[in-house]
Structure formats: structure tokens, C-alpha cells
């Protein structure tokens, strides 16, 4: 694990580069896009474990925090989806440079899945997309935190700020629309599949959809981050695309 800072001076991000283990070819690279708010805190252990396990299968990876979240610069109120999308693009460039790769994969957990899909749909140096319990619609975030009113005031979510602007961005977020513009390899793993996931898989024949019985890495408990690590999911990720 190599901690690093990357991105433009005005949007410095904290990331952890995990080089692939082993000799010979450079292997593959994967940028890991996290979820948001308490889900990111809870999923931290699982994503660290995933990065370590994938390194043994010759994956280099970069985990990172979006601007305004985690260990990255910026205040919580600075987080926007447009900004996070730019951060994910920066992370792709950083991993390609750090690992010496011409193209990479993207792995997105929850909201990170929606962002990863948007990045993959607009670049030609993304080899494949791995979605882990992805949000299908941004409205799911608002529903999960019971934010139902007009987007005219900030809501506080587990110590994080959900600004009116971010609420508007979430209302406009749709993975289904994004994937219409992406035809590359796609693995979607769900430990908590809903109708949205199944509908998405049914409508896109190129999605390799797998429902796996495993703990939800991202869901909250007393102080966060205490769920068992879903190693069954990680095993699927590290071996894909086979």
C-alpha cells in the first residue's frame, strides 16, 4: 500500500496505490470508486481487502477519496457529483501513470458504480467495468436518508452535508441512461439485488450479472466498518473477466 496525493493543486485527492504482486507482465489495473457518506466509512475495510486480494491476482489498483470526502482536501460541503466525476477521471490518469498501463478497469461500489459507469462511457482507455451493489438511480440515496422535501436546504447525513445542489444532481443520476452509451465488458455483482438491478441486467445483454450471498460491505452498524468482509464478492472480482 502506497499512500499518495494526486490531482490538480486546487483539488488534491488522497489515494492508496496497490501495485500488483508478481513478476513478468504488468497485469491489469483497476480504479476503485467508493460510495458516499457513511457507506464509504463502512466499506473502507472491504475495499482495502479487495485491493490487497486483487493485487495477488496481478491487479494494480488505486483507491481514493473524492474531493471533500475522507482524507482528501476540501470540506464536506464541497462535494458534488460533477466534481467527483472529474476526480474519477484524475484517478484513471494517476493509475495509468503509477502502474505504467495504457488502459484500466473501473470498479465502483454503490454511488461509485454510477460514477465509474459515467467515466467508462466517455473514455476509450477503460477496458471494463465492475459494479458492486451499484445505485441505479440517484434518488435511492435521497430515499435511503429520507430526504424527501424540496432541494432548498442542506440535509445532514451521519455528519455529512447533503447540499441542495447535490440533491439536484442525485435526482438527475441514472445508471441505466449512462449504460446506454457503454457497450464494453461489464460485471455487476449484487449482494442486495433489487428490481432495478434485475431490470438493468435484463435490458443489457453484455452485463455479466451475478447475485451473491454475502454481507453488505457498505451498510451502517454502530460505529461503521464492522461488517464481515464479503470475501465471496472479492473472489469474483479478482478472477473477472477470467
Amino acid at each position: 500500500m502506497i499512500p499518495l496525493l494526486f490531482g490538480p493543486e486546487a483539488r488534491r485527492k488522497y489515494g492508496v496505490f496497490q501495485p500488483a504482486i508478481g513478476q513478468g507482465s504488468k497485469g491489469r489495473g483497476v480504479v476503485i470508486c467508493d460510495g458516499l457518506f457513511d457507506e464509504a466509512v463502512c466499506a473502507h475495510r472491504a475495499l482495502r481487502f479487495a485491493a490487497g486480494s486483487m493485487a495477488e491476482a496481478r491487479w494494480s489498483s488505486l483507491r481514493f477519496d473524492y474531493f471533500g470526502t475522507g482524507d482528501s482536501s476540501g470540506d464536506t460541503g464541497d462535494f458534488t457529483l460533477a466534481g467527483a466525476l472529474a476526480d474519477a477521471h484524475d484517478a484513471v490518469d494517476e493509475l495509468k501513470a503509477s502502474a505504467g498501463l495504457a488502459s484500466v478497469y473501473l470498479l465502483g461500489l454503490r454511488l461509485g458504480g454510477a460514477l465509474a459507469a459515467q467515466v467508462a462511457a466517455t473514455r476509450d482507455d477503460v477496458r471494463g467495468l465492475l459494479l458492486w451493489d451499484p445505485l441505479i438511480e440517484g434518488e435511492e440515496v435521497l430515499a435511503r436518508y429520507d430526504v424527501s422535501g424540496p432541494a432548498d436546504e442542506s440535509a445532514m447525513i451521519e455528519g455529512f452535508s447533503l447540499s441542495p445542489g447535490l440533491q439536484d444532481e442525485l435526482r438527475g443520476l441514472s445508471v441505466e441512461r449512462t449504460l446506454a452509451a457503454y457497450a464494453g465488458p461489464l460485471l455487476m455483482i449484487c449482494t442486495a439485488a433489487n428490481d432495478g438491478h434485475r431490470r438493468l441486467a435484463a435490458g443489457h445483454s453484455h452485463i455479466d450479472f451475478r447475485e451473491i450471498e454475502a454481507p453488505e460491505a457498505w451498510s451502517n452498524t454502530a460505529l461503521g466498518g464492522m461488517r464481515p468482509i464479503p470475501s465471496a464478492v472479492v473472489n469474483e472480482l479478482r478472477e473477472w473477466p477470467g
Binding site: 455529512f160 452535508s161 460505529l223
Partner: protein
């Protein structure tokens, strides 16, 4: 920063801004500890906010992950968790002394981080201040009285007594008590929560040694801890033999939650901490 002789630890330094003057002893360096297994950002990014606000008052602030937590790999030196945590704190202070020249430190922690901070301060004389948020504490006789008073303000409780449905009352009367439905694992506590001091004599000795060394203490309890702490001065009642004098800043925040997720409570905590840090000579 990545450092450590035994295990590579990962931490983030927030430089004092404004930077301290070159002459004089300089302000102590503040070190933030993990709360349980939540990584170094803290619950709801508490540690990040603490670090930035305290640094803005002229203190270098360092937050790091214990081995096996967050971005620090698991230890391979064979130490058990209890000893390992203390090694990690010592290695961190050594590193900050070597690279930044700091010789005095203030350690802060929430929950198990508070207990670990207390343990570390007992062993390391470079620590001149300890801030404890919801540390381990014993109940007192008055705690039970205060809890009863609070319960009696609840109509549900009074109803359960009058209708003989109260489990404690039923046990006392020798009546059957309905079994609880099976839980969902919420009570599961990872090991890191179990390495701290648990008994009052041990904590008393620790606190006494800190007082003898004139270590400054900031101790605060939240309403989330009301199952063990429910009145302002309970801490003093638990340790009646210790003369904290003016080195103890004790507070009880009944409306605050354990992780200070509410912005107002968080702001007040940080304001109080920066004031307290500034008063340490």
C-alpha cells in the same frame, strides 16, 4: 506519511497554520487516535474536521491508522493487540519527534481511542495532554438514581410497572420474562474495542499517574453514553481519591451523540478543544 520500524503505519499531518515561530518550545503536536476500527478520518469525518480546526489555531495535528486498521497493514511482529496499539503510538511519537522536532504531544481519542490515549499517556512522558471523548467509566450509586428519575418521566416505563410487564420487575417477582428476539449481530464488538482498561483500580492508577505528572485532561461524555454516564460530575465521583485540581476540563453533553454527528455539537466540541489546547503551557 508512511513510517514505522515494525509495521508500516500510515498517517496524515495537517501543518499548523499559521506556522509556529522558530524560537521557543513551540506548541505541542496533537495526535488523533482511531475510534475502534473506523479509519483515520473518524466517524462522520470527525478527525478530519478536528485536525483542520486545531491546526488553524497553530498546532501540528497528526492522525494515523493503527496497524491493521484503515490504510495501515496488519502487524507482523507478533505483538498482541493491546501491546501493539501502544507500540504504534510510541512509534508515531518517535517519528514526529525525529522528523518535526516535536517533544510534547497532546493525544485525543473517542471511545476505545480515548482509553488507548490514556494508556499511552501513562507510559510516555512526552504526552502533556490527553483529550478523552466517552472513555470507559464505571457507574455510581447516583447514576442509578438519575437513571430511575429519567425512567419515571417516561409514560411507557410507568405503564410497564403498573401492568407488571417490566422485565426487571418480573424477574424480581419471580415471574417469567419473555425471551428477546434474536439480534442481528449489532452487539458484536471487534477486538480493538476489548484491549482497553476495563477495571476501576487500573484506570485509577493510570489517572493518578497522569495527575502526578501534571498531564492536562479534557474529559467529555455524551448523551449516547447515558447507559453508563448520566450526570455532570460522575467522573469525579468515580475517582474521589484523585485531586485533579485545575488540570481537568470535565464536561457532560447530554444532547450530543457519541460520534458528534450533529454539526452544532461537533462545532462546540471543537471550539472547547481548541480553547483547551491553547491553555496548555
Amino acid at each position: 506519511m508512511s513510517y514505522g520500524q515494525r509495521t508500516r503505519l500510515t498517517g496524515i499531518l495537517t501543518y499548523a497554520d499559521p506556522a509556529p515561530a522558530d524560537d521557543g518550545p513551540g506548541a505541542p503536536c496533537v495526535v488523533l487516535l482511531n475510534a475502534g476500527i473506523v479509519h483515520k478520518v473518524g466517524p462522520g469525518r470527525l478527525n478530519v474536521e478536528l485536525a483542520r480546526r486545531i491546526a488553524a489555531e497553530g498546532f501540528d495535528v497528526f492522525r494515523f491508522d493503527f496497524a491493521g486498521v484503515g490504510d495501515s497493514p496488519a502487524r507482523t511482529d507478533g505483538q498482541d493487540l493491546s501491546a501493539g496499539v501502544l507500540s504504534d503510538v510510541r512509534e508515531t511519537l518517535d517519528h514526529l519527534e525525529r522528523t518535526l522536532g516535536h517533544q510534547r504531544f497532546i493525544v485525543m481519542g473517542l471511545c476505545s481511542g480515548a482509553d488507548n490515549g490514556m494508556r499511552a499517556a501513562e507510559l510516555d512522558e512526552r504526552i502533556v495532554g490527553v483529550a478523552l471523548f466517552d472513555p470507559t467509566i464505571d457507574r455510581t450509586r447516583r447514576w442509578f438514581w438519575e437513571a430511575l428519575k429519567a425512567k419515571c418521566r417516561s409514560a411507557d416505563y410507568l405503564r410497564s410497572i403498573l401492568t407488571l410487564r417490566n422485565p426487571a420487575l418480573r424477574r424480581r417477582l419471580g415471574l417469567s420474562v419473555p425471551a428477546l428476539e434474536s439480534g442481528d449481530g449489532e452487539g458484536e464488538q471487534p477486538e480493538l474495542y476489548q484491549v482497553t482498561y476495563a477495571d476501576r483500580p487500573r484506570i485509577t492508577r493510570c489517572l493518578q499517574s497522569l495527575v502526578d505528572r501534571k498531564v492536562h485532561l479534557f474529559v467529555t461524555f455524551t448523551g449516547s453514553w447515558d447507559f453508563i454516564y448520566n450526570y455532570e460530575t460522575q467522573f469525579l465521583d468515580v475517582y474521589p481519591g484523585i485531586s485533579f485540581a485545575d488540570r481537568l476540563d470535565l464536561s457532560f453533553r447530554p444532547d450530543a451523540d457519541h460520534a458528534f454527528l450533529d454539526a452544532g455539537h461537533r462545532r462546540r466540541l471543537i471550539d472547547d478543544l481548541t480553547t483547551w489546547c491553547g491553555a496548555i503551557p
